[in-house]
């Protein structure tokens, strides 16, 4: 009789300890979840801003200006457009530096 009582008291103690720790774990996880959701939102906002900026930076007029200034590129002229058949016959054609 006494043994059983002791056993149950111990069991109850162990269970309440376990419950206690699980509860706190859950609380921590919930906090983490809130943090994660918040940072996901922040990242999503950032992605939206970055996408808009990417679009802005890829403005065709801007790219044209940059290519002209820094790469020395110019409009493609009809003579520059060739098929592989035409190119293959001319060995050693120097296409660029």
């Amino acid at each position: 009789m006494r043994q059983t009582t002791v056993l149950f008291v111990l069991l109850a103690g162990a269970l309440s300890l376990a419950l206690f720790s699980v509860k706190y774990q859950v609380q921590d996880l919930e906090g983490e979840l809130v943090d994660l959701n918040r940072s996901i939102k922040v990242e999503q906002q950032a992605i939206r801003v970055l996408k808009a900026e990417w679009s802005h930076l890829n403005n065709p007029e801007r790219l044209r200006g940059l290519a002209e200034r820094h790469l020395g590129l110019d409009q493609v002229r009809p003579e520059q457009m060739q098929t592989f058949q035409n190119v293959s016959g001319k060995r050693g054609v120097w296409l660029g530096e």
Binding site: R48, K51, S55, G72, D74
Partner: protein
């Protein structure tokens, strides 16, 4: 066990058991206390048993439930929360308009510890706010005061780094057009509450207002930017009032680019004033002038009443009622149908239209959608002007584009019908999915044969006629010039012109129809003070084709190369090297590029 055991003798058994069990007997009050204790124990036991049953039941449910029925437990909400107004993208997915989170700065003056210090620090980061102004706000009596709206991310970071107590940020949203003016009239604008007030923003306001609602336009931003730049430069060169340009996919009716000048910057409401908000492409109606002769010729040929080799007497001006129809580039001789177009003869066109008949002319124009509003998906749509009574004089003037006013977009759609085999498709600014065969209702207005004849005629105009300046060696362009006098007080004004050019390329199998219209260009020295469509609009068409063709992968057909025909797709002749072709030596190429960049 014997059958005897199952005999009913419960009373005896009970009695027996009771007598076997050890029994303690109490008397009086002790006995009753014992009874009470037993009862209480029983009740407690029952309650505990019930509680454990419930807990056990719950344990079993939790242990056996499958994970997907309990999704709500512990899951990061990865779906976007409150994205706000939807995006507008071009046909390739490039963002044309988006709503971005924006931080605005406010202060609680009661929470400010040192207003002087705070004002000093903030004024340094926000240069457009003066220190005095800030001090007044920060020393205010209230609990809340806006300091500045729409901060840049950098400013938000800097202010956070200051660590000034009593100031905080509020989140809001702002509509951003990353490409500014490039597609202003098309996209339109939103008001401060984020509601569409013009263009696509207004027409698709409901779609865009739904969270994540996205609108994909048929516009190709690269081509749109080229058109915008070329029109801007033609307006500057000829000191024009404005210009309109539209590039239409000849096969699908999708608008690939659409520009109206003057324009505005949708990011800045302040730029929207006067003419700037007016979309000339869809709202403006213009007497198109000679470009209409293409329609006249197509109708006349298609009706069978006029043949390509028919000739018309264009020696003398036509006198009808109180009008006099004469030619601008008068040849004063008999002209064939191709010559009428090449030399842009009003007399010839008027006579051709009379052979066709006013009734047939009106029927064709109706079928081409030129007599009523366009169905394009924009709020700004103009109503064409046409005569209420269709008399002979009307038939004649309409044949060369006077006495009828249509929008440039409608004109481009009609020309697309002429060149694409005769199929009319209403122009749209939305990207079309690949249509299922038979799903699309298309009206054929001209026969394939007429369309082929018209393409040849349009090519002739550019190779030999008034449209020579639109020619680009290597690309086969076909088109027609148009020069119309603007109507003034009760008559036409000789000096105020609408100069236009409508083109299709590659003319043998048209991909695009281009229309450029310049409002009141002033001729200058380089054009010998002429401001006609051939001098003003045609070179712009050439520039457009020169820049767009390589981008969309249209191979130039150079001298020595056979023009591409429909039938011989891969001919052996193609294998022979092209004589005119050369690859520029790198040095020359780079030098030329340097010269250019030096000029900038």
């Amino acid at each position: 066990m014997s059958d005897q055991d199952f005999l009913p003798a419960p009373a005896e058994n009970t009695v027996l058991n009771r007598e076997d069990a050890p029994r303690i007997h109490f008397d009086g009050s002790k006995n009753s206390a014992m009874e009470t204790g037993r009862n209480r124990l029983l009740v407690t036991g029952m309650v505990v048993l019930l509680a454990f049953t419930v807990v056990g039941g719950r344990l079993i449910t939790l242990a056996t439930s499958s994970p997907d029925t309990d999704k709500k437990i512990a899951r990061a909400t990865a779906k976007p929360n409150a994205v706000g107004r939807g995006k507008i993208v071009d046909r390739r997915g490039v963002i044309l308009a988006a709503s971005l989170p924006i931080a605005s700065l406010y202060a609680n003056p009661q929470g400010i510890l040192d207003a002087d210090e705070a004002a000093d620090k903030l004024a340094e980061i926000l240069p457009d706010l003066s220190r005095e102004e800030l001090l007044v706000k920060l020393r205010g009596k209230g609990q809340f005061v806006w300091l500045r709206r729409n901060l840049t991310p950098q400013q938000v970071y800097d202010i956070n780094a200051l660590g000034v107590p009593g100031v905080a940020f509020a989140d809001s949203e702002r509509r951003v057009f990353p490409h500014g003016r490039v597609a202003s009239h098309l996209l339109g604008m939103t008001d401060v509450d984020g509601k569409g007030i013009a263009g696509v923003e207004r027409y698709f306001d409901d779609t865009l207002s739904n969270d994540g609602g996205r609108v994909q336009l048929s516009i190709d931003l690269r081509i749109q930017a080229i058109l915008h730049q070329e029109l801007t430069s033609v307006v500057a060169r000829f000191n024009a009032l404005g210009a309109a340009g539209v590039i239409l996919d000849a096969q699908t009716g999708e608008v690939t680019a659409m520009v109206s000048l003057p324009d505005f910057n949708p990011n800045d409401v302040g730029t929207l004033h006067g003419e700037a908000g007016f979309n000339r492409v869809t709202k403006g109606v213009y007497e198109m002038g000679s470009t209409f002769k293409l329609l006249t010729a197509a109708m006349a040929l298609d009706s069978g009443k006029v043949l390509l080799q028919d000739r018309y007497d264009a020696r003398k001006p036509i006198r009808i009622a109180r009008f006099r129809i004469s030619d601008f580039y008068g040849k004063n001789r008999w002209l064939s149908v191709p010559e009428i177009l090449i030399y842009s003869s009003n007399i010839g066109a008027a006579k051709m239209a009379m052979d066709l008949g006013g009734k047939a002319q009106k029927a064709y124009l109706t079928k081409l959608g030129l007599l009523r509003q366009s169905t394009v998906e924009l709020p700004e749509v103009g109503t064409p002007l046409s005569p209420a009574r269709w008399r002979d004089i009307n038939t004649m003037t309409i044949s060369y584009g006077h006495g009828i006013a249509v929008t440039p977009l409608q004109m481009a759609a009609a020309i697309a019908t002429v060149v694409n085999g005769g199929y009319y498709r209403p122009p749209t600014i939305l990207k079309k999915d690949k249509p299922k065969p038979g799903a699309e209702i298309i009206r054929q207005i001209f026969s394939e044969k007429t369309s082929g004849q018209m393409r040849n005629l349009m090519r002739l105009v550019v190779s030999r006629g008034t449209g020579k300046k639109a020619n680009v060696p290597g690309y086969r362009i076909g088109g027609k010039t148009g020069t119309a006098e603007k109507q003034g007080n009760g008559g036409y004004r000789k000096k105020a012109l609408i100069s236009s050019f409508v083109a299709a390329f590659p003319i043998d199998a048209p991909r695009y129809v281009l229309l450029v219209l310049v409002d009141e260009p002033k001729g200058n020295k380089s054009t010998y003070y002429s401001a006609t469509g051939g001098w003003v609009a045609a070179p712009t068409i050439a520039n457009l084709v020169r820049r767009i063709a390589p981008m969309i992968g249209i191979r130039p057909v150079l001298e020595g190369d056979k023009p591409k025909t429909g039938k011989s797709k891969i001919s052996k002749r193609r294998r022979a090297p092209v004589k005119a072709a050369f690859v520029p030596s790198s040095r020359k190429f780079v030098e030329r590029a340097r010269e250019r960049s030096g000029a900038h």
